[in-house]
């Protein structure tokens, strides 16, 4: 069953007077439970594609469906709600709220959603703190953590609402390879346990190796979608 439908999507940016064709007609289907890697050289359109799927940007032409909803028909507010309830984001540069503790950063989306008791929230947050291996850092501020630890917080924050889809734009780019490896392992774990769909972009072949499928894009076009046999 598909969670994402992308059909004939183009994206044109205006850079001064010149048009930049970031995507030139991309079609793509992502099924629930996939652990999908978007691979391609720098400037190929990976971030643009993820932004469209994550409902933080709109395509110039074409259709983007998330969970069966045509995103072009949704209001700003509905799109925000969609992001809040269906999607988790892991940013390349972590993007944590500096004034909140690690615990509070992870709890943040739950508070935006509302509906859980304090105990329920604590249970979830603590579970993720343990799962991501930063159990003892709950009361720390992000600035007191290393890069890898911060990215773990970001992963936990993306997962805490139990979204159907997690998007990660080059989550390991700012990390050393060992830490990057650990983050990928962590994501893979979550994918296996809860069946969460992951889409992450990378240009690191070692990272790609963990994906269940790889979408290679170049110059704004999908070159090929290959299955990584071992994990299919």
């Amino acid at each position: 069953m598909s969670i994402i439908q992308v059909r004939d999507v183009t994206k044109v940016y205006l850079l001064g007077k010149t048009q930049v064709h970031a995507l030139r007609g991309v079609s793509l289907t992502v099924d629930k439970g996939e652990f999908l890697s978007v691979a391609g050289p720098s400037g190929s359109g990976k971030t643009t594609l993820l932004n469209l799927i994550g409902c933080v940007d709109t395509p110039t032409t074409g259709l983007v469906e998330v969970g069966g909803l045509d995103t072009s028909k949704l209001t700003e507010r509905a799109l925000t709600d969609l992001r809040l309830h269906q999607i988790g984001f892991i940013f390349q540069s972590f993007n944590l709220v500096q004034v909140l503790s690690v615990f509070q950063n992870i709890e943040f989306p739950l508070l935006l959603q509302g509906g859980l008791t304090k105990a329920e929230r604590a249970a979830r947050v603590n579970g993720l703190l343990e799962a991501t291996g930063i159990g003892e850092y709950g009361r720390h501020r992000p600035s007191e953590l290393s890069g890898g630890q911060r990215q773990r917080v970001a992963v936990a924050r993306a997962l805490v609402t139990r979204p159907a889809l997690v998007l990660a734009d080059e989550p390991t780019a700012n990390l050393d390879s060992q830490t990057g490896q650990n983050i990928i392992d962590l994501m893979r774990d979550m994918n296996r346990k809860d069946g969460t769909t992951f889409i992450f972009s990378t240009h690191d072949p070692k990272v790609m190796a963990h994906a269940s499928a790889i979408i290679r894009i170049a110059d704004g076009l999908v070159a090929v979608r290959e299955l990584v046999g071992a994990t299919a």
């Binding site: 971030t47 993820l50 932004n51 994550g54 933080v56 940007d57 700003e76 507010r77 925000t80 709600d81 992001r83 809040l84 309830h85 984001f89 940013f91 390349q92 540069s93 993007n95 944590l96 709220v97 500096q98 004034v99 909140l100 509070q104 709890e107 943040f108 989306p109 739950l110 508070l111 935006l112 959603q113 509302g114 509906g115 924050r157 734009d169 080059e170 780019a173």
Partner: protein, 714 residues
């Protein structure tokens, strides 16, 4: 619901922590807000007490809450006069009708008829007054030629007049040094000098004893005009139903003397006015110096103004000398010598010079000596309680009307004795006002009826009637007419003594309420039961007047106060302008700081939006930040302002160091008072400005898209 609550909680948490995290910015914005609140609280509480002072002064002394006057008037009612003098008001022909109609309007407590104008008062100079007494003495002696007591009195009086002539001669000699002896009017001055010299030689006084009346004639006609101090003064008065006036304006009290008996003619002189214009200059200067020394700790040695006053006092010693006849002068010497520790035999001029040789060391002692030893022998005010004075004013036709009224006392207003507004206007009975203005009183209505029957006419035009009335002077009448347009000083002075007897009967006649009410007034003050409902009552009074066809204009006390009210308005305008400027600058600074804050947090805001925070969340976050700062620092500023006000009050207020301030403060010092409204207003203002300055940054925050969180550069 629950979702909202959780979101709000995290919003507040982030907002507060941001405030703490960016302390420097918070403190800068906070201090601006604090100073703003402080200025507004202190400024508005000063304004409030100025307002309050003005309100008390105006409402309590003349204004009431509302004023009515004829809507046919050319000018506007200005209770305290305008730039071009008194208001040009069309008379209200029958006040009784106004009283009847408006008295029925709910919330109206009292209606007081008024007519405000300026008039000339003959005060008589010392020379004039002394000559009048001399004439009285001469008459007494002629009535009982053998009376030794009367003869002694006359001799003392003669000696007094001779002294006055000597002083006058001295004055004239000094004055002559200043003028060119061959210039214009030189021959006139020579003639005057000759007259004075004529009266100074013993031969004149030998002749005087033979024919005193001829001698008096010469003195009155030839010598009195040479006396330089003016024999008249201007007063501003309100003609009114005095009993109603005293009842309506509860603060009014008779400072000296007694109230005017019900229904009778009479005048109560404004105490403030009397102090300033009628008091013997030496006494006035002493009062002023004392006031400056006591309240402002000014010192003669240091203040140029006080030195000037001391000099003035010294040079005016002659005015005191002139007041005392030889017997009194001797008594004064006897009293002053021990008090001033002067050598035996020192004479009065030297003693006075000694008394007024004031410095910081001797001032208080000499002040006391003046008031305890000398003042009881002096005529301290040009007009004293008990005098009958002649008031003259140009009537409607332009000719001068005059009335004699008894001075019953001085009027002042409790709590605002020193206000520049209250107590400068004298209070005169309504009948006298009507006579002065030439309006038809009930007395004249009778006369008018008589004329009408005499003329056999059924219709007499107003002009004709007035011409008939004012053309000739009936026996016992007080109203006289001079066709001269200019003020004839001699004639004014002549009024002092001559008319007293004749007018006696009218002076003491009591008028009924009917007579007082039925007649002309220029305006009327309306006092309300509940002054808080002034707007509502203004409309109701206007409606009632219109319904009865009264053709009245109803204005509130502030409008009626004319220039005075406008001045306060101007002052408030300046304060508001200053506040606006300050907050304008504050707005820009706060706005800039907040814009920078918003820009610095674009990535954070973008992240929140990507994670699922709605726009209102991030806007709310910014507003909470700025509102928190504003409220906390605004309250602190207001509290500090309250402290400043308390300190000002505790130290006796802001002293009124100039006449203008004295007037503004309605007294010697401004005691600002914190009004609840001023605090609330300042907080609302501060908050409004803060929120306004946060709007643009909030808009920036709102427009931050989640994409901006995705961009890789940090």
């Amino acid at each position: 619901m629950r979702a909202r609550l959780d979101a709000t909680r995290v919003l507040l948490r982030i907002a507060f922590r941001n405030l703490v995290a960016s302390r420097v910015r918070t403190v800068i914005i906070g201090l601006i807000v604090l100073v703003g609140a402080l200025i507004v609280v202190v400024g508005s509480s000063m304004m409030e007490s100025i307002d309050q002072g003005m309100r008390t002064s105006i409402q309590g002394s003349l204004g009431g809450q509302l004023q009515v006057y004829s809507s046919a008037s050319e000018g506007q009612l200005e209770l305290y006069g305008g730039i071009r003098g008194e208001s040009l008001l069309e008379p209200i022909p029958d006040f009784a009708r106004v009283k009847e109609v408006l008295g029925k309007v709910p919330n109206v407590k009292m209606i007081v008829p008024m007519g405000i104008d300026q008039a000339l008062v003959a005060t008589g100079n010392v020379f004039d007054v002394t000559l009048a007494k001399l004439r009285e003495d001469v008459r007494q002696l002629q009535a009982s030629p053998g009376d030794a007591e009367v003869r002694r009195g006359l001799e003392a009086r003669k000696a007094h007049v001779q002294r006055l002539i000597a002083l006058l001669a001295e004055e004239l000699t000094q004055a002559r040094v200043l003028v060119d002896p061959n210039g214009r009017d030189a021959s006139l001055r020579k003639a005057q000098r000759a007259d004075l010299d004529h009266a100074a030689v013993p031969a004149f006084w030998i002749e005087f004893d033979r024919d005193p009346l001829a001698g008096l004639e010469f003195l009155e006609n030839k010598v009195t005009p040479l006396a330089m101090d003016s024999g008249f003064t201007f007063i501003r008065y309100v003609g009114t139903d005095v009993a109603a006036f005293m009842k309506a304006f509860e603060l009014a009290e008779v400072a000296e003397g007694t109230a005017i008996p019900p229904g009778q003619r009479g005048i109560l002189l404004g105490k403030q006015y009397a102090e300033e214009w009628l008091k013997l200059k030496n006494a006035r200067r002493l009062d002023q110096i004392k006031d400056k020394r006591d309240r402002f700790h000014a010192r003669i040695a240091k203040e140029e103004e006080l030195q000037r006053w001391v000099k003035d006092t010294r040079s005016r010693a002659r005015e005191i000398l002139a007041q005392l006849d030889p017997l009194q002068a001797a008594e004064a010497e006897r009293r002053l010598r021990p008090a001033l520790e002067a050598p035996a035999g020192e004479e009065l001029p030297a003693l006075l010079a000694r008394l007024f040789d004031l410095d910081d060391a001797n001032f208080d002692r000499h002040y006391q000596v003046f008031y305890e030893q000398l003042a009881p022998m002096l005529r301290l005010y040009k007009i004293s309680v008990g005098d009958v004075i002649t008031i003259k004013a140009p009537g409607k036709t332009g000719a001068f009307n005059a009335v004699n009224v008894k001075v019953y006392g001085f009027i002042q207003y409790r709590g605002i004795e020193k206000s520049g507004i209250a107590g400068t206007t004298s209070v005169v009975d309504l009948q006298s006002f009507r006579d002065l203005y030439g309006y038809v009183t009930s007395d004249k209505a009778e006369e008018l009826a008589k004329i009408r029957t005499q003329m056999g006419a059924t219709q007499v035009s107003r002009e004709e009637a007035e011409a008939a009335l004012f053309g000739g002077e009936g026996p016992g009448r007080q109203v006289e007419t001079t066709r001269a347009a200019a003020i004839d000083e001699r004639q004014l002075l002549a009024g002092v003594g001559a008319k007293r007897k004749a007018a006696k009967a009218e002076e003491t006649r009591a008028y009924t309420q009917e007579e007082i009410d039925h007649g002309v007034a220029l305006n009327a003050a309306i006092l309300l039961h509940d002054p808080g409902r002034i707007r509502e009552s203004q409309a109701a009074v206007q409606a009632a007047a219109d319904a009865a066809g009264l053709k009245l204009k109803v204005i509130d006390w502030e409008a009626a106060s004319g220039m005075v009210g406008q001045f306060v308005l101007l002052l408030r305008g300046i304060l508001i302008f200053a506040v606006i400027i300050f907050f304008g600058v504050a707005l820009v600074i706060i706005n800039n700081a907040m814009v920078m804050a918003a820009l610095a947090r674009v990535k954070e805001v973008g992240t929140m939006r990507a994670i699922g925070a709605q726009r209102r969340f991030v806007v709310g976050m910014l507003l909470v930040e700025i509102i928190t700062v504003s409220v906390v620092f605004g309250l602190a500023g207001a509290a500090l302002g309250g402290g400043v006000v308390a300190v000002i009050r505790a130290t006796g207020g802001i002293p009124a160091t100039s006449d203008l301030l004295f007037f503004l403060f309605s007294g010697p010092a401004l005691l600002p008072r914190i009004g609840g409204t001023s605090v609330v207003a300042s907080l609302v203002l501060v908050l409004g400005v803060a929120v306004a300055s946060a709007l643009y940054p909030a808009w920036i925050a709102m427009r931050v898209t989640p994409v901006e969180a995705m961009s890789t550069e940090d």
